[in-house]
Amino acid sequence: MIQFILRRLLQVIPVFLGTTLLVYFMVFALPGDPIRALFGDRPPSEAVIAQLRQQYNLDEPFWVQYGLFLKNLFTFNLGVDFTGQPIADTLARVFPVTAMLAIEALIIQGVFGIAFGLVAGLRKGGIFDSSVLVLSLVVIAIPTFVLGFALQLLIGVQLGWAKPTVGSNVTWGSLILPAVVLGMVSFAYVLRLTRASVIENMNADYVRTATAKGLARRQVVTTHVLRNSLIPVITYLGASLGALMGGAIVTEAIFNVPGVGQKLYQAILRSEGPTVVAIVSVLVLVFVLANLLVDLLYAWLDPRIRYEN
């Protein structure tokens, strides 16, 4: 087991190098001059520009820039962005916000997706099942920004049940509406996955055995069906955590959440290589660790899966 975890952690190194190199190159290849863009309509003197270029290593060739970035990274010095703010501070400010948002969305989609899916699966073919299936299809079909604006208008503005935007003062409560929007599509998938898995497991031989032992239906479902049904769902939930962290750009823009998505968007607009790469690096780490966690959960849920050699 320990060996498996170590092996997986070692895999992070090539993944990390590959993604940062790719992202760094893409930012490098963006058209336009980031320094000139910084000053907008009032260009400074050439001397100032040259000095700034040197300060941010922008006059070096690509490989030198990337090498310097890596060197700084491993000395835990992420440098400063074009506005002079330390990038580490920026990360420390935006990541907790997005993490809160993603975790809230994950909980919402997990709890409601599994609960609705379980009930629908147990009442296969009933009214609840049919309506939930249709609704989940509708949710999957609607783009996130349409759903986001619609809920913002309806619940935030017209009904006034929640604040329409989040702003700088981020609390768990203020994130509920964006979390619902963010988790909505995955919720539909979790629901459908749980439903299919429950239906399959209800027909399994061991369920008949459990009934023949004398267990009540509720006991059969909670102790025997649920755990077996959760195995594929957990995999999906874990993989979706990464997607939630990185995919919050639209949701964060709609609800004005000062998180990773917003910051990343600004940094890309300004061709701020170091900031973009720093944010993406952390996202890569989150993604890889989430997947590792899923694999461990998987082995815990299903004893047939063991990672020994």
């Binding site: 399994a204 031989d205 061991y206 008949r208 055995t209 459990a210 009934t211 023949a212 032992k213 004398g214 267990l215 009540a216 102790t223 025997h224 755990r227 077996n228 849920l301 299903d302 004893p303 047939r304 050699n309």
Partner: protein, 609 residues
């Protein structure tokens, strides 16, 4: 220790000897299909007494399983059950959910067919037994654990502590079924329903489980309803027998009555269809007395047979063996294996697995060689390698005169070779393409090989359908429109389409009902005689090999441990493993099976490995 832990054979307020534990009257089961009631069982009447085994025998679709699951209300919701089921006088049908739950697992326990899927894969065996115990009695977790360990000991698991901690997939098939039995016995049920308890197991394991069930019946005094299609199992265990066909009990009687004096046509047909080890073979050698052969080979002394009778039977056997002239092989070998080792190639981090080692085997034209062994013995591996589906890791393998040991995977050489080799697979449902009409399935090899097309191809397809005795107009049907036996006929026709010199048949009849199996085997035998192809017949069923094979090879753990003519293997088996394998096959005759059982016990005592 509480009363409940005791396992004394005497159950205090036991029902009287003649009072039935289970009394079934007018039991009918219907399933709702497309808003119509389709009957699965009609007006069944039977009863079972304590300490008695009632076997309900029938082929698939006879309603034997459905009617038994109906006793405990275990049928899906689209079913309807009518009639009366009384357990020690208490009516079970129509009683409320709480009452029936109290009966399930406590008064009436069930053993299912496939212990791998019938046990929950994510909980340990111990946890599942403890769950049953604690459900029906107020005991502490420690007491329940103790009880579970005792049950695991009772079912003769070698290491109960370890089995308690094991997950189902960590146990072997036989151990899993023992665990399943331990669970079902954990609350001292009055009635045990065993639904095909040994069907998924190897024959030697089956014999062990049957021994265990017989011991338990004597110890526990429960009534047992045994549901099975296997007449050998019935002969081994049953006191009384009910024969079911299409939802109706056509005949009931004691085991002796049914086996020796069957009244109903169907019972007679069913008994006649059961392949009977020793009965097959060529016309000259006659029936083989396997029990006597084994007794002579193992120098066993049996108490159930008078000594002079045994000696006479052994002498007759020896004389028959001496008289049996082995046909002289003629021509070039069609399949020749010399010191062959076969490996499943390594996949990623999974290392290569050597499934067969040092195999030597020769098949001459027109010869049928039976390759028998238990699951995991490597018999199917040899069959697959013979058609080039697995690479040869060492030694030489010649197929139809060509050495394919070094052939490239999917190379030209294998492609050429496969034109001369036909293959019949185990499961006819999954080995035919469901989207192709069967005529096209049969014609495809000929079309691909370029032997025939157009009208000529159609004629060849019709001729093949005639050969396997299927109507020509079946050509346009799809596999799902055919029965299992018909599908296997299509599989045989496809294998024959290129007029192969060698046929590899991998368990072609093991998925079929006995009466269907008998017909398919008959057809196969006639075709083989008529067309004269050589055949490697892979099977776990010794009785099937006995019917077909000229020579028999016995495999164990990747090695061919013994081979010889059919007479040599059946009349004078030398290897202890072959002897054990032969002794484990149950005979569809209670008296002969008793002799066989004693013999097997002696063999096991002499060599318990």
């Amino acid at each position: 220790m509480t009363d409940f832990i005791t396992l004394d054979p005497v159950v205090a307020p036991a029902p009287g000897r003649n009072e039935p534990v289970l009394e079934v009257r007018g039991l009918s089961v219907d399933f709702g299909v497309d808003k119509k009631w389709v009957p699965a069982a009609i007006g069944l009447n039977y009863e079972v007494r304590a300490g008695e085994v009632l076997a309900i025998v029938g082929e698939s679709g006879s309603g034997k399983s459905a009617s038994s699951m109906a006793l405990l209300g275990l049928l899906p919701s689209n079913s309807r059950v009518t009639g009366s089921v009384k357990l020690v006088g208490q009516e079970l049908l129509g009683t409320n959910e709480a009452n029936i739950r109290a009966v399930r697992g406590k008064e009436v326990a069930v053993i299912f067919q496939e212990p791998m899927t019938a046990l929950n894969p994510v909980y340990t065996v111990g946890a599942q037994i403890v769950e049953t115990v604690r459900l029906h009695s107020e005991v502490s977790p420690d007491e329940a654990r103790l009880r579970a360990l005792r049950m695991l000991e009772l079912v003769e698991l070698p290491d109960p502590e370890k089995a308690f901690r094991s997950y189902p997939h960590q146990l072997s098939g036989g151990q899993r079924q023992r665990a399943m039995i331990a669970q079902s016995l954990s609350c001292d049920p009055k009635l045990l329903i065993a639904d095909e308890p040994t069907t998924a197991l190897d024959v030697t394991v089956q014999a062990e489980i049957l021994d265990l069930m017989r011991n338990l019946r004597n110890k526990l005094d429960s009534a047992i309803v045994l549901i099975t299609h296997d007449m050998g199992v019935v002969a081994d265990l049953a006191d009384r027998i009910a024969v079911m066909r299409r939802g109706v009990i056509v005949e009931t009687g004691t085991a002796a009555q049914i086996f020796h004096n069957p009244q109903h046509e169907y019972t007679k047909a069913l008994l006649a269809a059961v392949p009977h080890l020793g009965q097959g073979g060529s016309d000259t050698s006659g029936e083989v007395d396997v029990t006597a052969a084994l007794a002579a080979a193992a120098h066993a002394e049996l108490t159930s047979i008078p000594e002079e009778q045994l000696l006479r039977r052994e002498r007759e056997n020896a004389a028959a063996l001496a008289a049996a002239a082995a046909a002289k092989p003629q021509g070039e070998p069609v399949l020749e294996l010399t010191d062959v080792a076969i490996e499943y190639p390594k996949q990623g981090r999974v290392p290569a697995f050597r499934a067969v080692e040092g195999a030597n085997l020769v098949i001459y034209p027109g010869q049928v060689v039976g390759l028998v062994g238990e699951s995991g013995s490597g018999k199917t591996t040899i069959g697959r390698a013979a058609v080039g589906l697995l690479p040869v890791a060492a030694g030489t393998m010649k197929v139809v005169g060509q050495d394919i040991s070094a052939a490239k995977r999917n190379g030209r050489q294998l492609h050429e070779m496969r034109r001369h080799v036909g293959m019949v697979f185990q499961d006819p449902s999954s080995s035919l393409n469901p989207r192709l009409p069967i005529g096209e399935s049969i014609g495809e090899p000929m079309f691909l090989a370029g032997v025939a097309k157009g009208v000529e191809l159609q004629k060849r397809i019709e001729a093949l359908l005639d050969q396997v005795e299927l109507p020509r107009n079946y050509r346009n049907r799809y596999p799902h429109e055919l029965s299992g036996g018909q599908k296997q006929r299509v599989g045989i026709a496809r294998a024959l389409s290129l007029k192969p010199k060698l046929m590899v048949a991998d368990e072609p009849t093991s998925a079929l009902d006995v009466s269907v199996q008998a017909k398919v085997l008959d057809l196969f035998q006639n075709l083989q005689k008529e067309l004269g192809f050589a055949c490697l017949f892979v099977t776990h069923d010794l009785a099937v090999v006995d019917v077909l094979a000229d020579r028999i090879c016995v495999m164990q753990r990747g090695r061919i441990v013994e081979q010889g003519t059919r007479d040599q293997i059946l009349r004078n088996p030398q290897e202890p493993y072959t002897q054990r394998l032969l002794a484990a096959v149950p005979l569809p005759d209670p008296e002969k099976q008793r002799e066989r059982r004693e013999l097997r016990a002696q063999l096991m005592a002499a060599d318990p490995s």
